[in-house]
Symmetry: C2
Subunit: 411 residues, 2 copies
């Protein structure tokens, strides 16, 4: 089965928002062996939407629409598809009930325009909306499938995951399965990694290997096709071993994991607690750590010592350390890491101090960063970074390097 | 001039990454009065790319390609377009020089496959790449324009902003201008806001008004067309006044501003410093504040008191306050805000303590959040939130509510 995803919404064409829905749906479809060959974005314009549908019908069996199911006047997806397919829009009573229930639950007043959301294409299978009002739907006409999903990601994502995928698999029956695995690397550039594994890349057919660089990381997606998912996995295992034999030093994890998630896993495994003192990152490391639920067993908290005043008053860095070496120095990084460990009695203390940019600081160029890692009864280690990204690119990379050095410390 | 943006890359169709490039380019084109009617995403497949080009040629004067200019084997955009247009690929010496310079600058070894990036379409205007190796280009054939841009956003965005926009404007000459302004609202739902301004929405033609809800905020984009940009602005001013007359209470800023940026503006204007104690947000507020350069004059830093231990040891909250009322309580929020103000001698202290979720805490449901705002010589204020989003949705909304209440405090 081949699919095309059509996102409907002028806000996308005006550059107000990013089409994250296409990514989310594509990932889900890849996992069940549906090929996605095109994404299309079209505005809230019935004529252009109709033309886009006609083009998609030429090249896809399954057309998935996102957006335009809402209560407002520019939401026209259902209406346009109904007209194109000569089907009626009928009220779905369950949808109407759940819309009314939604307003009671959220203690808000239901306005007239919300009722429009209970209309569905006649004959369509309804996909319940557990986080909003507009129901989704899947309609079959001969060999062509039309799935309509709401635009807001917090409504669309659970709907697609819990109801959409299953509805598609029902229609598919069994076909060749696609198994896919992403290997994640940090600390090596894309071209260098590719050159190192070139011999493997050159003879790729099944599995295929797709390299990708983003946010200072490189990933290799290994994708194998086979009627048996087990056989597909074996093909991937073999290729993975060959790749890791060549560039395993930079490998840190699989698929959707993050380097922070791997750090948390290791800390939990070794039952070690961590505390943090952040200057240029100003809470980014700790906020990202706390974005994972259940970290309270390993994460104690820390200090955002953005100002030198905070470094001295809160983290008790010696004033003359800052005077003599500067806030951006190995010496300050060491005191920050060792003191935060002491203050919160943690097993590990990590510190970040540097120049985020765009301007120089203490006559040190933007991108100059010191990371300190202190451990109980072990010598404190420091690392110097020389980053070349934007202010926030430098802050994000600093956090990733912190995780990278923590992993080297722990694994 | 009408444009279509074609993003080339199987990683997009596999759901590995989001097409942020289309958003960025669309926004830039809207600002110079170029209509974008379609975005297309197609994989690293010459045949399908060729077909997508043929479709785009039917409906757009300007086709902008992103991706597929890199050094690797699956980068085929230039080659496919050259074949489609019967033009040659020739080496651009300046591009070759800057590629070699790039490798010297970043102290990395140049591999053979990088030379491929210096090839350009014969007769194309080169768009320099200041942050990477692959140059962009703009080629004209009769009345059809083809712009090729690299895929990585940190290379594409500055290239498009500094060279791409100008190259397009040169080709355009003068046409009807589009002026657009976004009004940003917080603390009101989309349907409610729309109902309130329905009378204005109903008679919209020029300017048009596009509502959008995202991350707990609602925006209204007012867009006017006129040969004179001044006249277009007057049309927008008039509509804006009518809208703010009805829902001005929830308005906080224009266009790309964020509620955090508005808080920073006010703090700088009133020369007030701020310090922060964050429990559930764990540094998110401070990290977002520090993502703006030059905040050191108003932002002193603070404490991530994720654990109760950190609340007591670092922020000096009374242990019996936590025992008696819990960490998630008005009383703890007050002590956190007042103590962090004291500790860093700031004018304002803000605190966040609550249940991010998914699990309950102290028998309080996920989404229960207390915000405290302390000021020198003023009574401390507290605010209770009852959020219904995911763990990180709740953390993000908590930070926005903190900003919202700070603005009410300051403006």
């Amino acid at each position: 089965m081949n699919a095309e995803i059509i996102a409907v919404g002028s806000e996308l064409l005006l550059g107000q928002i990013v089409n994250t829905n296409a990514k989310f749906i594509s990932k889900g479809l890849a996992e069940i062996g549906v090929n996605v060959f095109h994404h299309t974005v079209v505005g809230d314009n019935p004529e252009r939407l109709k033309k886009s549908i006609e083009i998609a019908e030429q090249r896809a069996d399954l057309i998935i629409f996102t957006g335009g199911l809402g209560p407002t006047k520019d939401d026209l997806t259902k209406e346009t598809i109904a007209k194109h397919l000569n089907t009626k829009l009928v009220q779905d009573d369950e949808a109407m009930d759940s819309i009314e229930a939604y307003f009671q639950r959220t203690k808000r007043v239901m306005t007239e325009n919300n009722k429009k959301q209970a209309l569905i294409l006649e004959g369509a299978k309804v996909l319940p909306n557990d986080y909003g009002m507009a129901p989704g739907m899947l309609l079959q006409q001969e060999e062509q499938y039309y799935m309509l999903l709401p635009g807001p990601p917090h409504e669309m994502e659970p709907m697609f995951t819990h109801y959409g995928i299953l509805a598609i698999q029902e229609k598919m029956g069994t076909i060749e399965k696609i198994e896919s695995r992403v290997l994640r690397f940090f600390g090596i550039g894309e071209a260098e990694l590719e050159t190192r594994v070139e011999s493997i890349l050159e003879r790729q057919s099944n599995p295929t290997i797709a390299p990708l660089a983003a946010n200072g990381e490189v990933t290799l997606r290994i994708t194998a096709k086979h009627t048996s998912i087990e056989e597909a996995k074996k093909l991937i295992d073999k290729t993975e071993q060959e790749i890791l034999h060549l560039v395993g030093d930079y490998f840190y994890g699989y698929d959707e994991t993050t380097i922070m998630a791997e750090v948390i896993k290791q800390l939990e495994k070794e039952k070690l607690t961590i505390a943090c003192a952040e200057s240029l990152t100003a809470g980014l490391f700790q906020s990202e750590m706390a974005s994972h639920s259940g970290v309270s067993s390993i994460f104690k908290g820390g200090i955002v010592c953005y100002s030198n005043e905070a470094k001295v008053k809160l983290v008790q860095v010696q004033e003359n350390t800052i005077e003599q070496y500067g806030a951006v120095s190995r010496e300050t990084a060491i005191e920050l890491a060792e003191n935060i460990l002491q203050l919160l009695d943690s097993d590990i203390g990590i510190s970040f101090t540097g120049v985020a940019g765009p301007d120089k600081l203490e006559n040190k160029p933007a991108g100059t960063v010191w990371i300190g890692i202190a451990r109980k009864n072990k010598p404190t280690k420091t690392y110097l970074l020389d980053l070349a990204s934007s202010r926030n690119g430098n802050r994000v990379r600093t956090v990733k390097y912190g995780c990278y050095y923590l992993l080297k410390e722990l694994v």
